[in-house]
Symmetry: C2
Subunit: 246 residues, 2 copies
Amino acid sequence: MTVDTLAHVSCADCPIRHRAVCARCEEDELAALDGIKYYRSYEAGQSIIWSGDVMNFVGSVVSGIATLTQTMEDGRTQMVGLLLPSDFVGRPGRSGAAYNVVATTDLVMCCFRKKPFEDLMARTPHIAQRLLEMTLDELDAAREWMLVLGRKTAREKIASLLTIIARRDASLTPQGVVNTLTFDLPLTREAMADYLGLTLETVSRQMSALKKDGVITLEGKRRIHVPNMARLFEEAGDDSDGGFLS
Amino acid sequence: MTVDTLAHVSCADCPIRHRAVCARCEEDELAALDGIKYYRSYEAGQSIIWSGDVMNFVGSVVSGIATLTQTMEDGRTQMVGLLLPSDFVGRPGRSGAAYNVVATTDLVMCCFRKKPFEDLMARTPHIAQRLLEMTLDELDAAREWMLVLGRKTAREKIASLLTIIARRDASLTPQGVVNTLTFDLPLTREAMADYLGLTLETVSRQMSALKKDGVITLEGKRRIHVPNMARLFEEAGDDSDGGFLS
DNA sequence: AATCCCATTTGATCCAGGTCAATTTCAGTC
DNA sequence: GACTGAAATTGACCTGGATCAAATGGGATT
């Protein structure tokens, strides 16, 4: 494969269909670029980018999870994004980061220094277009989340978060159309609270309430079973399942 | 000027410095494109794009204001963005819109049909890069707003909104560094509420409170005077003024 | 198996902002 | 200058989620 195909739009034979770029294929295609790309490893809890840092690289997550958070001086924090394998961070041509990026698990990123990456983009317009697509997807997701933060009740917020994780998880291990699903919740109650603009106590209470009402069942603390996805979407107040069901 | 320079990054002699692309210069540069671009006019209150619509065009606002809103079936709405002159809407290569776009004033847009625009992007990579820059700016703004929606108090939310409008207004009519400012608020209380995830009553109460505390004064309903911008930034809970002061 | 350390759950109380309802203000319009 | 209707203000009350505090659970270490 050549550099020109880095930015292919779909990746039919890859199980990671929901991501904008399939990390595995990307790996293959970027093999042509040895010497330009390099790898960085982070431990769980380690800060990757601190708000205001100069961003002299662009990176794609290979494995692990990182969170994007905004913080106020008094400690209030809001998670504004989740970075999963194949997601990009960094901004070619911009010097100050607007938020913190922290690894929540051990994490490996595939990086490019700013200048080589810019050259690469100039040479292969497909890459810039692919990045534009991905960024527009993220913008849509951010705007959808604004509705969650601004207008939904605590219970709806929890249900919304669960549908997002479930959807993502289901597309990672596709098994046709299912109305029942079991998945891991890779977040602490506190992280969920930071994502949803709630306190961890409220998150815990609402999780208990959803359990009591039979919307979910818990196996251990982190493993969630949803007997009826349609019910969960309903609880989330979504007007559609985003094509998940049927 | 040539098409190649459409995507110039800065526009030193243009008063509209805060926008990603200067509408005026863009107009000039796009003059070379007559026959590809065309104009659309909308009346105040008219819907430009309805959630789910096929987006077969890309458009830049020439004059007027439009809002992007998300809606739930029960009527709860959240404004997720504001379109001002020079802002882009539409998504080359994507068919379903994620939200509603409604003109709040009479509005004129400069549009491109999807296909010619894609061709244009392919021919002139600068345009794709410029759009990427703009989209990343919007993503940053959306993420900043998520902190406002998720973690700020009603008073801080109002102050944050005023800060944004004031900043935008100040850059439209630059007058050096000022610590005092008067500007129009182009939104009803209800629109402010939809933006901030509050009710219009709470907006009204907090406006009154800010007035009583001397943070702002009102001339009529819509004209706002801020005697001390530093104080307003403080009320917004922002850790910085974003380079507005000093 | 006992200990320690967190994450989580649960309870009790409080309060910011929502809800419902009644005025007031003001830009048009005749 | 009086009339009208939409926008805005203000008041009274209620409630969802925050806050403060205590108890429980479960995984790692020894």
